[in-house]
């Protein structure tokens, strides 16, 4: 088999805020400094720009202002400026407003955006700069020469369900680059592989994740003023679960509504999607949504761990930026500006290295210096222990977060976290009995398909589609499913997956068998993160497949 190869100076894997900011910054440096033009390529697994992008979202425009100073004139789609905000603690049927908005949650000067529209707009800026933006191509493998990253191999196309080559078969392309910038997002498949091959995570705390679920609703347009931002804590989560809800109002009655759940919950029968449904059933939320209708759905994991969980983000021939590295401020619930900023700093590092003709580890290390001297560290370092403090429960977490603001994060010794999947308890531990066969989530609620939805219906509204005739892109050691997982954890994949990918079917002899509905996958990465045995590996499906988050 002959593989095509393509040689570029800088390869950027992932067309999100980090990757696009890196690409644009490279072209700006090129323009400012002249010289032999750099060849730059951006890979994006979605069929079109922004299709796999999901966020709340509120944008802190600081990085955007530095990258594109005239962003307003250039038509950046900032949907509404935040002008009114509230934080509530929900009880089962009531709500208590927080008397003051905690400073990290103050959003004055920030804007509500659709990250999908924002990324599509950023793409037009990148394409106008003449950069090759390849949509529909996933990064499947890392090409290495010893400890040096030399490029990425894209996924094959036209492989049938049983691994056979179809008439449309096309082998993936080897893209060789002097510098590869990995911007493959939260739990990126290539970054995960990098961490396995190189000792990048050895000095970092275990990464922490959450799962964000979001719906776009249309409600009567006079109900919630555009620019209103509401965050909630408490119900339907218990003291032991981390997370909360968000409601962002946009013009014409459009509302972004979502719920974030820490992927470190203890109850093996807990279902994050049910928590989202229960959130919508809370009288405060259901009254807002009454008479409206849901038009879009999506789900995506978030890196919550903060500064101490960020791995070494530089290596010989490679850099990591954005969510792939874990650059998110979980206290401010923001990461887009950090993704953009790290993308820009990665671009500056790569540009200098290529110009110097030295892309070795020693040169790439200057990326870390750039980050340490930037607003990224200034913002993340003081709150480095906050997420870990929530591991002790909601109230200790809140108290600690408050204290961090006062002390600017000083602590004699940093807190340690545990990988989220290790915190999940067995049925025997949590329920004190091994004698029952769980059939439903512990937080199950009624599904009316108007306010609350089953996962399969929700998936339809994510616009997800994959060619059915391809091998499953979720690699699972299914022996575990048929043997120990049922009695130990009651098949938690069925519940933590927000897209009905995993189903347990009883074979005629009563043996549970895992059915993987891979074509439902919304690429959120939760299964790869939360499975207690760590036997699920998410690999990219054929390029172009996945959700279609138009307007999300």
């Amino acid at each position: 088999m002959v593989r095509e190869t393509l040689e570029v100076d800088v390869l950027i894997v992932g067309g999100g805020p980090a990757g696009l900011s890196a690409a644009l910054r490279l072209s700006q440096l090129q323009e400012q400094q002249g010289g032999e033009p750099l060849s730059i390529a951006v890979l994006e697994k979605a069929r079109e720009a922004g299709a796999h992008i999901l966020s709340g979202a509120i944008l802190d425009p600081s990085a955007l202002r530095d990258l594109i100073p005239d962003f307003r004139e250039k038509g950046a789609p900032l949907v509404a400026d935040v002008h009114d905000e509230d934080v509530y603690v929900l009880t089962q049927s009531g709500k208590l407003p927080l008397p003051i908005i905690p400073p990290p949650l103050k959003n004055h000067g920030n804007s509500i955006i659709s990250l999908n529209l924002f990324v599509r707009w950023l793409t037009t800026q990148v394409e106008a700069a003449g950069i090759d933006f390849f949509t529909g191509f996933s990064g499947q493998d890392i090409l290495m020469d010893g400890a040096r990253v030399v490029g990425v191999r894209t996924g094959d196309r036209g492989i049938g369900k049983h691994g056979e080559q179809k008439a449309t078969f096309e082998p993936g392309v080897d893209i060789l680059a002097k510098v590869t910038i990995f911007c493959d997002g939260v739990r990126g498949n290539l970054t995960k592989e990098l961490m396995r091959r190189l000792p990048l995570g050895h000095h970092a705390e275990p990464p922490q994740f959450a799962l964000g679920l979001k719906e776009l609703w249309e409600i009567p347009s006079n109900r919630l003023e555009s620019g209103t931002v509401i965050h909630t804590l408490g119900y339907p989560l218990r003291h032991e679960e981390f997370g909360g809800g968000f409601i962002y109002a946009m013009p014409d009655g459009q509302v972004s509504l979502g719920f974030v759940v820490g992927l470190d919950y203890k109850d093996p029968l807990f279902d994050p999607h049910m928590a989202f449904n229960r959130f919508k059933q809370h009288p405060f939320v259901s009254k807002l949504l009454e008479g409206g209708h849901m038009i879009r759905y999506g789900a995506k994991a978030l890196p919550e761990g903060g500064w101490n969980t960020i791995p070494q983000v530089f290596m010989d021939g490679g850099l990591i930026a954005g969510d792939a590295g874990g650059y998110m401020n979980s206290m401010r619930l923001k990461g887009i500006h950090l993704a953009m900023r790290t993308g820009m700093l990665a671009a500056e590092t790569a540009f200098e290295a290529v110009r110097k003709g030295d892309t070795s580890l020693a040169t790439m290390k200057t990326y870390q210096d750039r980050i340490d001297n930037s607003s990224v560290k200034a913002e993340l370092y003081p709150v480095r222990n906050v997420h870990q403090a929530f591991g002790y429960g909601l109230l200790p977490g809140l108290a600690f977060a408050g204290l961090s603001v006062v002390t600017k994060g000083w602590l004699p010794e940093d807190l340690h976290g545990h990988p989220g999947h290790e915190r999940m308890k067995t049925l025997a531990w949590y329920y004190g009995s091994t004698q029952f066969a769980p059939t439903a989530a512990s937080n199950a609620t009624t599904i009316d398909r108007r306010l609350t939805f089953d996962k399969l219906t929700n998936v339809h509204y994510s616009g997800t589609s994959h060619d059915e005739d391809q091998p499953p892109h979720l690699l699972v050691h299914t022996d575990v499913c048929s043997s120990i997982c049922g009695p130990e954890y009651g098949h938690p994949c069925v519940r933590f997956c927000p897209a009905n990918v995993y189903e347990i079917i009883q074979d005629p002899d009563g043996t549970p068998r895992l059915q993987i509905n891979a074509s439902n996958c919304v690429h959120c990465k939760t299964c790869d993160i939360m499975d207690p045995y760590q036997v699920i590996t998410w690999v990219p499906p054929e390029g172009g497949g996945g959700p279609q988050y138009n307007g999300m």
Binding site: I295, S465, Q515, N517
Partner: protein, 328 residues
């Protein structure tokens, strides 16, 4: 004038053309008496179109044009776009209607771009008649229906969703004149070189053409029970189809899958055996005229779209249906 572009292959008319004829008649305000309304012309393109034009001449329309050219067989988007463009420029229609088939999806965008005229795709309904009519088309995967009015015509190109109108709603009983027209196609402008159709495609069932369908879902329980559905289908002279899990398990081939990741169908009769009716399945079959659902779960969403619902065990009901059907 409204121009309908018919679709045929090897002298066999695609049934969806009649749906576009029905749409054209509605848009024109045609009545059985031919009184008033905009005139309608049907164009048949190809090489060796056989009796297709005569078949269409039975519709209540003004004229059927036959444009035959060797370059039109086998189909290529460049040749079709060139031929349609010539026809449109010589007849100056107000609207051009096409069935939203795979072939139309292939060449209609090119045609619209060449003409620099608006293209409304996947239209499900027409409000009003004549030049002021507005068109309904789905947005957000069918969640919203938008009313659109083309600008920048005439003509406006309109493709009709399969099953949006019924083929038998087309008014017939006319005897339109059939006229041959010459089209010039510069063969050097055809960039595509079609190869022989895939063998798979030859064997493949075109469920969109089926008048009756028996579809099975997870309620069938095991591959061993598929013959029961096949027997029912045979007794009804129907095609067998399935929901996603059945095809995913390999119990039936993928080309028989109905739904958002399979085919969209609009048969006269759709019998759903043990199908719960997830929205992914419903979007592929809700255009069926009569839906019969057999499911043991009375709460199953399939009953929300079914015209006739039987809450019960399909393993009792299907054999009883077969026995009744075979009596005849």
């Amino acid at each position: 004038m409204i121009l309908v572009i018919a679709e045929q292959r090897e002298g066999k008319l695609n049934r969806a053309t009649w749906e576009s004829v029905a749409a054209a008649q509605q848009l024109a305000g045609t009545t059985q008496q031919l009184a008033g309304g905009m005139p309608i012309t049907i164009a048949v393109l190809g090489a060796g179109t056989g009796g297709v034009a005569q078949e269409l001449a039975s519709a209540v329309v003004s004229e059927v044009l036959v444009a035959e050219h060797p370059a039109l067989d086998p189909y290529t988007p460049d040749a079709y776009a060139a031929a349609c463009r010539a026809l449109i420029e010589s007849t100056s229609p107000t609207f051009v209607l096409l069935p939203h088939t795979y072939q139309t999806r292939d060449f209609a965008p090119l045609l619209a771009a060449r003409l620099r005229k608006p293209l409304l795709t996947d239209v499900t309904g027409i409000v009003g008649t004549g030049a002021d009519a507005t068109f309904t088309r789905p947005m957000f995967q069918g969640k919203l229906a938008a009313q659109v009015k083309p600008q920048g015509g005439p003509p406006a190109l309109v493709t009709m969703q399969i099953g949006a109108l019924r083929a038998d709603a087309a008014l017939k009983g006319g005897s339109a004149a059939v006229r041959k027209v010459d089209v010039q196609i510069d063969s050097s402008s055809i960039r595509q070189k079609p190869e022989a159709p895939f063998r798979e495609a030859k064997q493949a069932v075109d469920l969109a053409q089926a008048e009756r369908i028996v579809a099975v879902g997870r309620g069938i329980k095991s591959q061993d029970n598929i013959p029961l559905a096949e027997k029912l289908a045979k007794a009804m002279d129907a095609e067998v189809a399935a929901s996603r899990p059945i095809c995913d398990n390999g119990w039936l081939p993928m080309e028989r899958q109905i739904g958002s990741s399979g085919q969209t169908v609009a048969p006269k009769l759709y019998v759903a055996l043990g199908i719960s009716g997830a929205i992914q399945h419903l979007v592929g079959m809700k255009g069926a005229r009569t839906i019969v659902a057999i499911n043991k779960d009375a709460e199953a969403p399939i009953f929300e779209v079914a015209d006739y619902g039987i809450v019960g065990d399909l393993f009792e009901i299907a054999p009883a249906l077969i026995a009744e059907l075979e009596k005849k």
